[in-house]
């Protein structure tokens, strides 16, 4: 027989996290935070297409400088994101081990999905790709680790971005990773609501469509930057900074 899974304070949140539904709720909330970040980040990235200011400063650099000028906000956000990533990642790994290893130790000889989307079945794999991509991306364009990006110059956001993506291999990798991100979000966005218990036959279908649209927008939005660099639509403005 089961025992009641309730307690007070810390035990309560611990036992909530112990449950599969609790873990999924944590993934939904952290997923929501990460999704919010991705949207803002994309909006920031798209500034690459804006013309250079009269003073020769690119809006992207201006934006980067503004963010760096507010360390509490920047670091606050970074900590929240870091915690969100860790929780999202750990919960995903735990659930995935339960689902793939424990709950079905013997695989089917034949299994034919009939309605599910490719996105929904590959969340864990997409998630892992995104995870490693994010680490690479941080080393490449945020921290600028020498062994990843030798041309990196602290503070020169626009220049770093363009020079970093002029390497076709890197640009294509960025695009693939962002398509994977879009696929992840295609299922992830509406799924967050379902995991938190928000569903209604009238609104869920709309939500699914909105998710799909947002996923496309994010995918195209992010891919547009490496693509623009690769095709030469966006190029170095010259060493005017």
């Amino acid at each position: 027989m089961s025992t009641m899974a309730v307690g007070g304070g810390l035990t309560r949140s611990a036992s909530f996290y112990d449950s599969v539904i609790g873990k999924k709720a944590v993934m939904a909330i952290t997923g929501f935070i990460l999704f919010g970040f991705v949207l803002v980040h994309m909006a920031g990235n798209l500034q690459v297409f804006l013309p250079v200011h009269a003073n020769g400063v690119h809006p992207l650099d201006e934006y980067g400088a503004k963010l760096r000028a507010m360390p509490p906000l920047l670091w606050g956000a970074r900590i929240v994101l870091l915690v969100a990533v860790i929780l999202h990642f750990v919960a995903a790994i735990q659930l995935s081990l339960l689902n793939k290893r424990q709950a079905r130790p013997q695989r089917y000889v034949k299994l034919a999905p009939i309605v599910s989307t490719y996105a929904s079945r590959t969340m864990i794999w997409g998630g892992l790709v995104i995870f490693f991509y994010v680490i690479y991306h941080l080393l490449h364009l945020t921290i600028g680790a020498r062994f990843v990006n030798p041309t990196f110059e602290e503070g020169h956001v626009y220049q770093n971005l363009v020079s970093g993506l002029q390497n076709p291999v890197v640009a294509i990798f960025y695009m693939i990773a962002n398509i994977v991100l879009a696929i992840h979000l295609y299922h992830g966005i509406w799924s967050m609501f379902q995991s938190l218990g928000i569903a209604h036959p009238r609104y869920t279908p709309i939500l699914k469509r909105v998710s799909a649209v947002l996923a496309w927008v994010i995918g195209i939005g992010f891919c547009s930057v490496p693509l623009a660099v690769l095709t030469g639509f966006v190029k170095m403005t010259g060493g005017n900074l």
Binding site: M1, M4, F16, G22, L98, A103, I114, G197, A199
Partner: protein, 257 residues
Amino acid sequence: MKLVLNIWRQKNQNSRGGMVRYELDGVNEHMSFLEMLDVLNEQLTEKGEDPVTFEHDCREGICGCCGFMINGVAHGPHRGTTVCQLHMRHFRDGEELWLEPWRAAAFPVLKDLLVDRAAFDRIIAAGGFISVNTGSAQDANTIAVQKHCAELAMDAAACIGCGACVAACPNASASLFVGAKISHLALLPQGQPERSRRALNMVAQMQQEVFGSCTNIGECEAVCPKGVKLENIARMNREYIKAAWAYREEAAAGGGG
């Protein structure tokens, strides 16, 4: 018509199984899938071989006994149908079919296509009920139930406990089964007093049985022979999250003398 059947044969829970190939002739399109297997078993018996074991009882699609995978789909290709009601007219002459038991850690294979689903009973025993002893009920019409609530409760209560949802789920999750029962009872006024306890205990038991978690894939809903909706899983999540944070255990005061 003629069929090629690849059937999972497994002697008992502890032995390793494998696919065995059979050719079957003289299948009539008006036969049900199980009647087709009856014919195969009749032939195997005549040859002195062990007939294929599969669970079945009412053969009307309501008892929930039957079910196995046909070509990787729980209950086979026809939506909203259990295998006992699936008829051979949905198959082509000469078709090759693959029959496998439900696969989940919580549903061990007992023999061939037959699995043990007692985990479902234990989940119900953990809280899938309303505690009302015989004789203590008030007049039925003193409990008014909104018509649409009664209908939604009925939609959820239509579950036959066949286990197809678990079988089709890539995570072997029992969320649709558990969600359906939690929903059925949470939607009715009679179910309110135990609403929180029920959600907590049933979910805890589900986990103890080592079913996987729901990742909102939706295969369960697609194969459910009774059309139980994914919405019920969202309701379970809601009920559970609410209960996990808000439920207060009764004060541990001693009983009176």
